[in-house]
Structure formats: C-alpha cells, structure tokens
C-alpha cells in the first residue's frame, strides 16, 4: 500500500506545483470551480486538520469576494448604488472568481505543506545544492535544539531564583538574560560542531541523504501522467477566455476548452484515484488471506 504522499518527493512536489500553477494562472471560472472542489475534497480526505482551516478559508473567501465590487466600478449591469458609487454584477462575479482562485490555491498549498515534510524538502534542495541543503538541515535541527535549550536555561535560572514572573520588568530582564546565554551557547557550540565536522572529513567526499527515496517506475509514470494532464489543460485552456468588462463575454465552452477541463479534472483528482486504488487493493488482498 503506497499512498500518494509516499511517492518520490519530486513527483509529489511536481504534482502540487502543477495543480497550484494551473489554478493560480487562470481566471477561468470553470477551472477554478473544479480546482476548489477537488482541493477541498483532497484536503478533507488526506490532511485531517479539523474545521478551523475551512472556517478561515470561508472568511477569506467572503472578504475577497466583497472587496472587488467595492473598489472596482467597471461593468454595465448596475446592481445598486453605495455612496453614489455603482456596484456592478461584472465586478461582483470577478470578485467571486478571484476569491475562489485564491482559496483554491491556498488549499493546494496547504496540501503541499502537509505532504512536503522537512526531510523531503531537504532531499529536493540537496539535489540543487549540497551546501544549502546542509545549512538548511542544520538550521532545522537548531530550531528544535534552541527551543529545548531555552527551556533548560530558563529552568536553571528559575532554580537560581533569578526569574520573577510576577514583576514585568524582572520578567523581561530575565528573558533577555536567557536569550543572551542561549546565543552564546549556540554560537560557541556551533564552532565545536564545525570543528567536529572538519575533523571527520566534511567536504572531502560526496554527501549522503538521511532518508533514501528511490525514483521508481511508478514515480516516473505518475510524473508523466501529471505532466501530460497539465499540458492538455494548458493547451486546452489557452483559448478559453473571459472578457469581464464592460459586460461578460466568454469563450468557455469550445470543444478545445472542454478537453482542457477534462485534463485538469484528471490532474486534480489524481491523488484520490491513486489512494482509492491502493485502498481497494489492500482490502482485496486482506480478504484473500
């Protein structure tokens, strides 16, 4: 059983970047509808984060959809007047589309963030530049280490009786002292780390990676499907244009653009297809035993 997020990081990153890019760079209501729907379903299924992100997205959607008609007064169909300024249907529809695009892109990127854990990011960056990847991995490590040390130092300070939380000035002074100790410790320790690295021959050979990701056949297959679907979507959607102002004119439903929608539709539900297939296989195999 190999879930979509367990595929090679290159494949997963490429997939999410394609989905996000197509969403972000079109202002095509149909594509944005598909994208919003698919990304929300994906998010609910594979990034179980509770209701909070959805509420945030909803608020963002409403605000962004409302901003455009309030600022932009182009368009022929006047709905009503607000402070003697016309509120037009065209601007309102544009606002809803733009807001949908933003929220859909946000959902795709949340999925990306969820899938690309720090070890996968390191794997990707390590291919670009070993040095940057080393600094990146050390910085990620130090982030956690410094937090632990902060707690250790402040515990020690408390035990010495130097840390009074009741008094604001004292508390701030205490924090400043902890910070100062932390920085000295981290910098001196960093030098020791560097010496130790040099002593063990850093930079004399090639660097290996902590987690091994093999690029298998199926990774290549999925990457190819993803690239093909994106290409079909881009080619198909090139002709599908919307002229927003002064009145909405669209060429949204030409045969070519419908091909583009199908391409993008396949792209956006690819993780669902893969995961469902794997789940069915899992059940089938466990029944067979």
């Amino acid at each position: 059983m190999r879930e979509f997020h367990e595929y090679n990081p290159i494949t997963v990153a490429a997939y999410y970047l394609c989905a996000t890019a197509v969403t972000m760079f079109t202002m095509n209501p149909v594509v944005i509808g598909i994208s919003l729907f698919a990304s929300v379903i994906n998010y609910i299924l594979y990034a179980k984060n509770g209701i909070k992100p959805h509420l945030f997205s909803l608020v963002l959607f409403v605000i962004m959809a409302a901003v455009n008609p309030l600022i932009n007064h182009n368009g022929m169909t006047v709905l009503f007047y607000l402070n003697d300024r016309p509120i037009t249907a065209e601007a309102a529809i544009y606002g809803v589309t733009a807001a949908g695009m933003t929220v859909a892109a946000l959902y795709w990127l949340r999925l990306f963030t969820k899938a690309m854990t720090s070890d996968k990011l390191l794997y990707l960056f390590g291919r670009l530049s070993p040095k940057i990847s080393l600094i990146l991995s050390m910085a990620i490590r130090y982030t956690e280490l410094l937090r632990i040390r902060w707690r250790k130092i402040s515990d020690a300070q408390k035990a010495l009786g130097l840390y009074d939380d009741g008094n604001l000035i004292d508390a701030l002074k205490g924090r400043a002292r902890v910070l100062s100790i932390l920085i000295t410790w981290a910098l001196e320790n960093g030098i020791i780390t560097a010496e130790s690295m040099d002593a063990r021959g850093y930079g004399t050979g090639r660097r290996t990676s902590f987690r091994l990701f093999r690029f298998r056949m199926r990774d290549g297959l999925i990457t190819a499907i993803c690239a093909a679907a994106t290409a079909i979507a881009v080619i198909g959607l090139n002709g599908a244009d919307v002229v927003w102002y002064p009145s909405i004119k669209t060429t949204l439903f030409e045969p070519v653009s419908i091909m583009g929608y199908v391409g993008f539709g396949v792209l956006s539900i690819l993780p669902i297809i893969i995961n469902t297939k794997e789940a069915i296989r899992w059940r089938y195999l466990s029944c067979a035993n």
Binding site: M27, A98, T102, L128, I132
Partner: protein, 228 residues
C-alpha cells in the same frame, strides 16, 4: 544522489538562468499570454533569482565554521518568527549580514523564511518572501561598515527595510488578486497593511538596537576568537 552533481551542468545552469531563462520568461510573459500575466513573470523571476544566487554560493568556499554560524542565525530567526506581533527576523538577518558577510545575510533571510513557512504554510508568497528577506540581508551586508559604526543608520535601515518589504509584498498581493497591476487596489492594499507596516518598521528598529549587543558583539567576538 544529486541530479546536478555534474560540474559542467552546474556551470551551464549558472549561465543559462540569467542569460536564458529570465529573459525568456519576460518575453514569453509579454507575448504568449494575451492578458499580460505579470504574476507568472514575477514568480518565475523571483524563483530564478533565488536559484541563481544559491548556485553562486555553492561555488564559493564559505568554510564550515561560517556555514554553521549561518545555520545558528537562521534557527534564531525562525524561532523569532514565533513571537507574536513583534518579529525579530529582519534584525537577525541584518546582524548575520553585517558580521558574517552579505551572502550569509541573504542565506539567513531566505532560508529562515523557507523553514518557518513549513510551520506557517508554504505558498506562492514563499519565493517573494525569500527574495525580500534575502535582499534585506544582502544589502545590509554591502553596507556593513557604516551600519556597524552608526546606531542612527541602523535604526534608519530597519525602518526603511520594514516599509520597503511591506510595500513590495503589497505589489505582489495586488498582482495575485488582480492579475495586472491596479493603482486603486495597490492603495487599498497599502492602507489595509498600514498597521503591519508600522509594526514591521518599529519591531525592526527596536530589535536591531536590542540585539546589537547580545548578537552583534558575540558574533564579533566569535569571529576574532576563532578566525571565521
């Protein structure tokens, strides 16, 4: 392991990106897409600039001590981003830039954004933020002598960096929302971001003064002690 392990390929990339990819992106954006999608162009250029810079650093011999110190400063900046409201990230990047060199400043800014966005959420804004903080660090590194000497200049740089960063990010907000640039929306974005701009400017200046002693002096001392 690495795709770009070949030195020749890396060299080709180093010339291909500035002379091939960036002009191609700009031309493509201007001709192929009917409604000029500035967003795509700016996104591509930001990404290419970061890759280019990182390829440059890859070639340089920075030394393991400096690398570790940059990693420590980056981690401090990442932790600083968890402080509510007042963010010392700019101040820490500027400190790294002044005392460890311009490239270190760039790396500290760009990488701390990349890492902290693992917690705060990656997005299309990531390359722009990386470039923004990276540039703040890089420019501070070029101005390191005057910034080291004068406290007033340091405050000025912090305030200016906060305002400039906020205004540049507003351009990006407008581009993302609207596809093309619109002065009305830009004004609205600037006004709605005004409290944040003020907060950036104040916290930058404040942290630069506050952190000069604990971070700046210690970096100076470490440099003298170990000859980084």
């Amino acid at each position: 392991m690495t795709v770009i392990k070949n030195r020749a390929v890396r060299t080709v990339l180093r010339y291909a990106i500035p002379f091939g990819a960036i002009p191609a992106l700009v031309i493509l954006g201007a001709t192929v897409f009917d409604e000029k999608r500035y967003l795509i162009i700016s996104f591509g250029v930001a990404l290419a600039a970061i890759v280019l810079f990182m390829a440059g650093i890859e070639k340089k011999n920075i030394g393991s001590r400096r690398m570790v110190l940059v990693a420590v400063m980056t981690a401090l900046a990442v932790i600083g981003r968890f402080i509510p409201l007042f963010k010392p990230i700019t101040a820490i990047c500027v400190m790294a830039a002044i005392y460890l060199g311009a490239e270190s400043g760039f790396l500290c800014g760009a990488l701390s954004v990349l890492i902290s966005n693992i917690y705060f959420g990656q997005g299309p804004w990531t390359p722009f933020q990386m470039l923004g903080f990276g540039m703040i660090g890089l420019i501070a590194g070029y101005l390191c002598e005057p910034l080291k000497k004068s406290r007033a200049l340091l405050i000025g740089y912090g305030v200016l960096a906060g305002i400039a960063y906020s205004m540049i990010m507003d351009v990006w907000t407008v581009l993302w929302y609207n596809g093309t640039f619109s002065p009305d929306l830009y004004l609205a974005a600037i006004i709605s971001a005004l409290p944040f701009t003020a907060l950036y400017a104040v916290s930058n200046a404040g942290f630069l003064i506050l952190l000069k002693k604990p971070i700046g002096d210690k970096l100076e001392r470490i440099k003298q002690k170990y000859g980084v």
